[in-house]
Symmetry: C3
Subunit: 330 residues, 3 copies
């Protein structure tokens, strides 16, 4: 494979950071976007892509002509949450343009059952799940498939409350609500350095729940509108580290080369300092947008400001230098 000289992604989610990181590492950048977002994504310097690939709708990314154009430019695609939501994990599997990271991971993060098997196999605590609404006896969260930013999630305390709220024909998961504080560590597993890095930690900012102490709310909603920075008590970090190491190791038993590149284990730290994980994101998460200048953790690994976006570009460069590009793409 010739060396990649372009890094491409869809203009959304964490694209500014991905472009910025790629630009700082000397790559050309391609922003796949609808016309409506061109002005905004043009308004930056290193946050703007060098070139736009304008589509009418996101499914067009799958078109032969679009893929050909990306292949012609030796582009590597970086998937993010919106990329997966817009194009679909299964469709991504069929694409011919190389992706950074293991595309199979996207199948495992999209499927709540697979995700749960993976977490459990890695020895990570997960919330109880209730197969039927009748089992709801404690505060529980009703979730829907995919990474749609928490939209329509709701809390219930009884089967009755569940039936009052649920729509028809909806696919749902009922999880015990874990009481504690949310910590979402941003991992990066590097096959090239053979090292698991913690590049940051965030907490999602959800409307309306995270400002709900300011005003009376009839129903709490959980729509992700942003992210807030934090650091964990240092004695909790070795636990997060071990969780990440185990998740990587286990993934190799579950699907070919397993997970590599960026991922996140969305977790709750309880007041007994136990950690419960309720989600895996098998690609860059939006919480990393807090740290385009580096985070309070990335500086322990690198002498320069390294975001997850930049880390991706660095990994590609290192892999190319060592002729190991297969180790970081799929």
């Amino acid at each position: 494979m010739p060396p990649f000289h372009s890094i491409a992604t869809i203009c959304s989610h964490s694209a500014l950071q991905i472009f910025d990181g790629a630009n700082r590492e000397g790559f050309q950048t391609i922003g796949i976007t609808t016309e409506a977002r061109v002005d905004f994504y043009s308004s930056f310097a290193s946050g703007s892509p060098d070139e736009f690939l304008v589509v009418q709708n996101w499914q067009e990314v799958l078109d032969h002509s679009v893929q050909e154009r990306l292949l012609d430019q030796n582009a590597i695609l970086v998937p993010h949450g919106s990329f997966v939501a817009y194009v679909g994990a299964e469709n991504i599997l069929d694409m011919t343009v190389p992706f950074f990271g293991n595309k199979r991971t996207l199948m495992w993060e999209a499927d709540r059952e697979k995700e749960r098997i993976w977490l459990k196999k890695a020895g990570i605590n997960v919330p109880r799940e209730f197969k039927t609404p009748h089992e709801i006896k404690t505060l529980s969260l009703v979730k829907f498939p995919g990474a749609k930013g928490g939209k329509d999630y709701f809390l219930v305390r009884s089967p009755q409350e569940f039936y009052d709220r649920i729509g028809k024909n909806e696919e749902y998961t009922i999880q015990e609500y874990i009481k504690g504080n949310r910590y979402y560590p941003h991992y990066f597993y590097s096959p090239i350095k053979n090292r698991l890095e913690i590049l940051g930690i965030d907490r999602r900012d959800e409307a309306n729940v995270d400002e709900s102490y300011r005003f009376p709310v009839r129903e709490k909603t959980f729509v992700v509108v942003g992210n807030k920075p934090l650091v964990a008590r240092e004695s909790i970090l070795p636990k997060f580290y071990e969780m990440g190491v185990n998740l990587v190791a286990t993934s190799r038993e579950l699907f070919n080369e397993g997970i590599f590149g960026p991922f996140c284990i969305e977790s709750v730290v309880k007041d007994d300092l136990d950690i419960v994980a309720f989600e895996i994101s098998g690609r860059i998460v939006a919480g990393t947008n807090l740290y385009p200048n580096g985070s309070p953790y990335s500086c322990y690994y690198f002498d320069k400001p390294v975001s997850t976006g930049r880390r991706i570009a660095m990994e590609i460069k290192w892999a190319e230098k060592k002729n190991r590009i297969d180790a970081v793409t799929s």
Copy 2:
């Protein structure tokens, strides 16, 4: 006009950042202050002004002798929230010392009616306002004029509650309380680069409301005591960008050259991802104090750490180099 070699402001609000930014860009700095604050503002390196101009009270800033001294040093004044609160927007209009930004903007931000006309003309959603207390049927916030940091604001749910709380002869505004999460984007419009930048986002930290879930409070208060950093979901950013672009464009129709330099649109993001703006600050806001080293957005425009304070100094330098100082001062 000879080139400015000094940047001056009142020692309060965002002065550390303004001095630091000016110092880093090679300007001399003058701190206008009362004696009581000299020790504190002397205790820094680049955060300290090169020189103090000590006044007995803030109104002295209007004195001929003080203005003469600033003019003698080719100083440019940077207005901030405390500057406006201490000296008065109308008094600032009469001052002979040049100001960074358009002084008229301060008249528009200080007047809630003008502010509302401006926002609406720019196509930005605003909260409903109730002309008389009798219209209060939903959770509403009672606000007072000026940028006094939320002091004495209170929540009401009915006309009765309003009359129980309001003082005599008070000038007030009654606004529908918008349920959602607060995001305050920090804009910078550069006439020199002809570019609207988003230099950061913050959320105010208000006593007691923002810790009110920790203890029972009889009455929520909204006194600003600090600021917290955050980033917005990337798909919300183009909306913020458009709001800023429209606010700048509209301002030119409303008052001579319109707004330039730093401003903020204090907003709430609702759980349907709509944005409602409840305030404009037509000058540097205190939330920018989070980012003297640059923010998770400023790095997408600049290779070095750029605060709003430093951005002001950069704009002055660029304007001088292009002989366009009139475009950034008033």
Copy 3:
């Protein structure tokens, strides 16, 4: 005394930052740890110590052989919250290895009565304390000795509630709960520069109280699980500065050379902008872990990213250069 070439601490609390700062300033670093943490602390670059000193349990730090080894390497020990909790403030007094800062300070921060005397003597407001449970008539916090991260603290509103919760033979302090927002300024007093610096501000993130608006909690708990960044309204900073200056000055009257190096005054800012301090930490606090790249305050003193960990290393270097190492150690 020969120049220190190693900086050593226990692998916990703020060790990553201490190692990173020491490494960046050119010191060798020694991590005292149990075997279980070696993998984690090895996984960083500048955040990893150059060398591990593996112990079976923390009391082993007091062993002659361990101390000899540290002395042989011209090591200076940096105490942090876990160091004090694991080894004990009194035991630290007896150690022969030099410590950064004044070891006596650890005795004063560990003893709530001494702490209170110190704060009051410095003219700093403190919460009311109730000598007997019968005096509880307002919301009060029951605290236990030492820096155990808020574990088991509880809120009470009446003597009855107190007796319902308290265990047998427990040593406790009952403090009036101050309503307001928590701000924990990180100070550094430099005998070498003769300057008091504010290197950052944080707020602790406590499980479950700080997410307690998201779910019903029967009992609020106050276990520290992390830290959140913030900045204070600029007009509050001179008050924090004065508190710090007074605390340093007073300490010299209370115990030999008084406090130097890093410390924190855990405070609440009330909605009348008054400040009440409820704790002193007489050494580096975990909240500084937010700022290994520098904080929104440290940049006003230094041209490079300076964490509290790095600041310690800088102070040692400067002291050695000036032959004043006695001024920064004990």
